[in-house]
Symmetry: C2
Subunit: 339 residues, 2 copies
């Protein structure tokens, strides 16, 4: 097979950015042997050039000017890993308007601007993929939009945030209060200095909004999802739950019954016999019920540099393969058309 070169512009060289870079470096030869494609990150947009990182990239790749990526005619794919709604959304739109395919792990930006981003992809005939935005390394979006497409979906629910699942697991296993565990989690880097988006359920609402779009073809902005976080859960709540044979988990769920779609993010009693009860610490799991396939569960690491890098690079490889085949148009994840 003739070797092809696909050039990538990477936006953001933090946790996920370095994880993506490391995933590619670590498995470059495996990927090349399977696909016949040489994937090269040729530019990295990053403000903070001084920060100490475990992963080192050649200095000459770095730029602080996003136009160096948008306007580089050799770059085929832009990976957006900046996080936050802006400027990430504008950067993704600009990349697509300049004919670049876009891959992102940014749930906040995708959930906030789902329609606009998808429309830009369609208009520009580029691919737009965001597997890593839900469930980290778990290939749930890909499954929903390809192998499971012969189903009408009835329900989707899951543990979609590793930080809160870690906190609840530690509270349960060691009989600790929320504040105690949060403090340790922050020290260990499992929770951010400002943990609001995680502990108030906002991150889960973003992911659930994306899942609802793909599974039910209905656009529900995250702020329209009734959302309750875990900050009010006490160790007594957890003890009481245990006495009745349950665990408390932060669950994002959506269900269609008699044509009505209901959805919420909230701490939920899960019977210890339920598969989701065994999903602890940083692990995520997503339950799907389809009218043909029945119940499915996907389990894995919902965050972390390498698991997320796996999902980002999975999207990049799919796009690269389609580019090489001359088929890289409109293979956009097409959940928006589901009715």
């Amino acid at each position: 097979m003739e070797k092809k070169l696909i050039r990538i512009g990477l936006m953001g060289f933090g946790n996920i950015g370095t994880g993506t870079y490391a995933t590619l470096e670590m498995n470059r030869s495996t990927i090349e042997q399977q696909t016949g494609i040489d994937f090269q990150i040729t530019k990295i947009l990053e403000k903070d050039l001084e920060r100490k990182r475990d992963v080192v990239a050649p200095k000459e790749l770095f730029t602080q000017n996003p136009d160096d990526l948008f306007l580089d005619p050799d770059i085929d794919i832009v990976i957006e890993l900046l996080g936050g709604i802006q400027p990430a959304t504008d950067f993704m739109l600009k990349a697509m308007n300049n004919g670049k395919h876009v891959v992102t792990a940014n749930k906040a930006a995708v959930a906030a601007n789902y329609d606009e981003l998808r429309e830009a992809a369609e208009k520009n005939k580029v691919m737009f993929r965001y597997e890593a935005s839900v469930g980290g390394g778990i290939p749930i979006l890909n499954a929903l939009t390809t192998a499971l497409k012969a189903n009408s979906f009835i329900e989707i629910m899951g543990i979609l945030n590793g930080t809160t699942n870690y906190i609840l697991s530690q509270m349960t296993d060691f009989g600790l209060e929320y504040e105690e565990v949060l403090k340790v989690a922050q020290e260990k880097g499992f929770a951010e200095a400002d943990p609001t988006a995680d502990v108030e359920g906002i991150d889960v609402a973003n992911k659930l909004s994306i899942l609802i779009s793909l599974v039910f073809g209905i656009r529900v902005p995250p702020e329209s999802i009734p959302t309750e976080g875990i900050t009010k859960i006490t160790k007594d709540d957890i003890k009481r739950a245990a006495k009745s044979g349950n665990k408390i988990k932060l669950i994002g769920s959506a269900k269609r019954e008699n044509g009505n779609l209901t959805y919420s993010v909230r701490p939920t009693l899960i019977p210890v016999s339920h598969p989701l009860a065994g999903v602890n610490n940083e692990f995520n799991a997503i339950f799907v019920k389809g009218n043909a396939v029945g119940e499915l569960m996907f389990y894995g690491k919902g965050a972390g540099p390498l698991p997320t890098g796996s999902a980002v690079m999975g999207d990049v490889i799919e796009i690269g393969t389609a580019i090489v085949k001359g088929a890289a148009y409109d293979i956009v994840i097409s959940g928006g058309k589901r009715k």
Copy 2:
């Protein structure tokens, strides 16, 4: 979107054949809205026209002559659901040699003739897909060959046979002997009149052979996999396992360590805390470990007409979508190239 018509020839109208037919009928409008494609089964190869079936297809679709499918220029995709190595393999090869894309659920035929079938697909530039051959409705092959492609895999193991998992679950839950449960399973239709392929582990060896090809890029014929079934397991074995905190599960596994690949199918002690211990009765689950994504588990129904129909139709939809995009060449699952 302009509506396109994709015509399908279906081989076999037994359990899986009727399940596939029913899946398509049940979700036809959902599939059409999402893909813009009208999938029509236009011919059904079936010898037994008199058998009572829950699913009824128009009489004029049936034929007893396979050439009616191979030589029909309007048929785009042939679905092979006859089971058994022959004549299924010859029929699939003949379909491909006549330019038809092929979808199958037939693990025995795929495991026995993996290279020959893949080569025929490449030679004829048709797609060949077999998601339903491993794990029934669980979209594991698709995940391994798309979203997880940025990984080097370390290990794959799983509960890959619903009949034996049902027997072991019932023996465990009700303290019964193997022969007692088998008899009831046969009466209920959960086990076949001749259960050899299931209970001796042959079915699992077929599936593991396929997984090894995709995950490690190495061809290990099923008869080369050390295989032990569940016929010698007694209720005392299960009690003894329980005392040491374990369950007995029939596990197919393959692992790469220091460049060596080891593999086997055998009854295995699984700690009750392990996610696979909670996989009971007709459910299957597959554990994968990749060097980027870490541990993943996929859980769902490993058999049954509709779950298997979901997987078959998922493959059909992928192929149909590629045909409509003019990209239906060489999107063959490309595990054989993994090194």
